[in-house]
Symmetry: C2
C-alpha cells in the first residue's frame, strides 16, 4: 500500500502553461495603444486604462466587454473593422516588441530539467472560448498529457488567473503586463513575480525541480 | 470666542491642484511607449511596465530611477539624447491623445462654484525638484494664495500621492493612469475614483461645495 502511494506520487509531475503577450513577450502596451487607435478610428472613444485592464481577455470577449461597459451594442461589421485596424496599428508598433527579461532562459531551463511546458495558441474557432473561460488552458495541456491539478499557469493578467482557477490549475502572476501585485493576488495568484527572470530564480518555490 | 472660531472656519476654502498627464489628459500610455522607444534607440532595454510605474516622476528623476534600477550610471549626453528621442516619438503618437472623460466638465464646474484650481507647469529650472518632491505643488498653490492643508491634489500616479503627502496636501487618486486602487491607497490616497467624470459626481465626498 505504502509502495503504491509512493509510485503514485512519483508519477505526478508539474507542467507549465505560459501566456504569451505580457508574460513571455513585452507586447501588452503596444496592443493597448493599437486597440485604442483602432477603436478611435471606428468611432469608439474609450479611456486607455480601461482597454489595458481588459486586454488579457482577447478576441471577441474583449471588445464585447468594453462595449458593454460603454452601454453600446455590438455591431459585428464594426467589430471586424476594429480588429483589422488593430492588426494594422499593432504591426506598426511591433518592431519595438522584445522578449521579456529571462523569458528564453526560463523556457530553456524547463526543457533542460524535463519540465513539460507549452504556450496556448488561439485558432479562429477557439476565440469564442477565450479567457476567462478555461478552455484554452485545458486544450493546451491535452497535448502534454498531464492532469490540470499538476499544472501551473504563468500569466500577467487577472484573466489568466481567473481562467487558471476555473481550469483547477495554479495561477502564477507576473507584473510585466502592468497589473499590480494586489490585483493578481485578488484574482487568485498563488505567487507573483516581476517577470520571467525573477520566476526563474524562484523555481524551487513552485516545486519545479529536475527529474 | 465662538464668533472668532466661526470667522476662522469661514475663511477656509478648499482648492484643487491637478496633475495633467493621466489625470486630465489620456496621455500616459503614449508617454510610456515613447520613452520605451527612446531608451531602446539609446541602447537601454527596459521592460515597459517598469517605465509605466516610474513615469509620474517626470524629468531627470525618472530616467535616473530607471537607470539605477538597471545598475547603470547616468551619462548626461545619453540622457539628453533619450529626452530628445522621447519628444519625437511622443509627437508621432500625440494625435491620438484625448482629454479624459469629464475633465473639461470638472474644471468648468469648479470655476462655476468658485473653487480655486490650477495645473502645475514644469519649467526647465524646476525639473530638479519634480515629483515626488513637493516643490511643484507648493509652487502651484503660491499662485492661488491658499494654505497647503486646504488643498486637494488630483493625480493618477503614486508619485503624485507621495508628493501630496510631503506637501501636507490631501491626495486624490484616479485610475486613469493605469495604477490600481490598492497602489494609490498604499501611497496615501484619501479617495480613489476612476476618472475626472467619476470625481465630478462625488465632489460632496471631498467637501467641495458652492460658495
Amino acid at each position: 500500500m505504502e509502495h503504491l502511494m509512493e509510485k503514485d506520487m512519483e508519477k505526478r509531475k508539474t507542467a507549465v502553461v505560459f501566456d504569451l503577450d505580457g508574460t513571455l513577450v513585452d507586447s501588452v502596451y503596444q496592443h493597448v495603444l493599437a486597440w485604442h487607435e483602432a477603436l478611435l478610428e471606428t468611432g469608439i472613444e474609450l479611456s486607455i486604462w480601461r482597454i489595458h485592464r481588459r486586454i488579457g481577455m482577447s478576441g471577441g470577449l474583449f471588445t464585447r466587454a468594453l462595449l458593454r461597459e460603454m452601454g453600446r451594442d455590438l455591431d459585428p461589421a464594426r467589430l471586424e473593422t476594429a480588429q483589422r485596424l488593430h492588426a494594422a496599428a499593432y504591426n506598426r508598433l511591433a518592431s519595438q516588441v522584445r522578449p521579456l527579461p529571462g523569458a528564453l532562459e526560463l523556457l530553456a531551463r524547463l526543457s533542460a530539467i524535463g519540465c513539460p511546458w507549452t504556450v496556448p495558441v488561439i485558432t479562429r474557432d477557439m476565440v469564442a472560448h477565450a479567457k476567462p473561460d478555461p478552455d484554452l488552458f485545458l486544450a493546451a495541456i491535452n497535448r502534454l498529457g498531464v492532469e490540470a491539478t499538476d499544472v501551473l499557469v504563468i500569466g500577467d493578467s487577472v484573466w489568466d488567473m481567473h481562467a487558471a482557477r476555473r481550469a483547477r490549475m495554479l495561477g502564477i502572476g507576473l507584473l510585466s503586463g502592468g497589473y499590480s501585485t494586489e490585483e493578481l493576488e485578488r484574482a487568485g495568484a498563488y505567487r507573483v513575480y516581476d517577470d520571467p527572470a525573477m520566476l526563474l530564480q524562484h523555481l524551487d518555490e513552485l516545486g519545479i525541480r529536475a527529474d
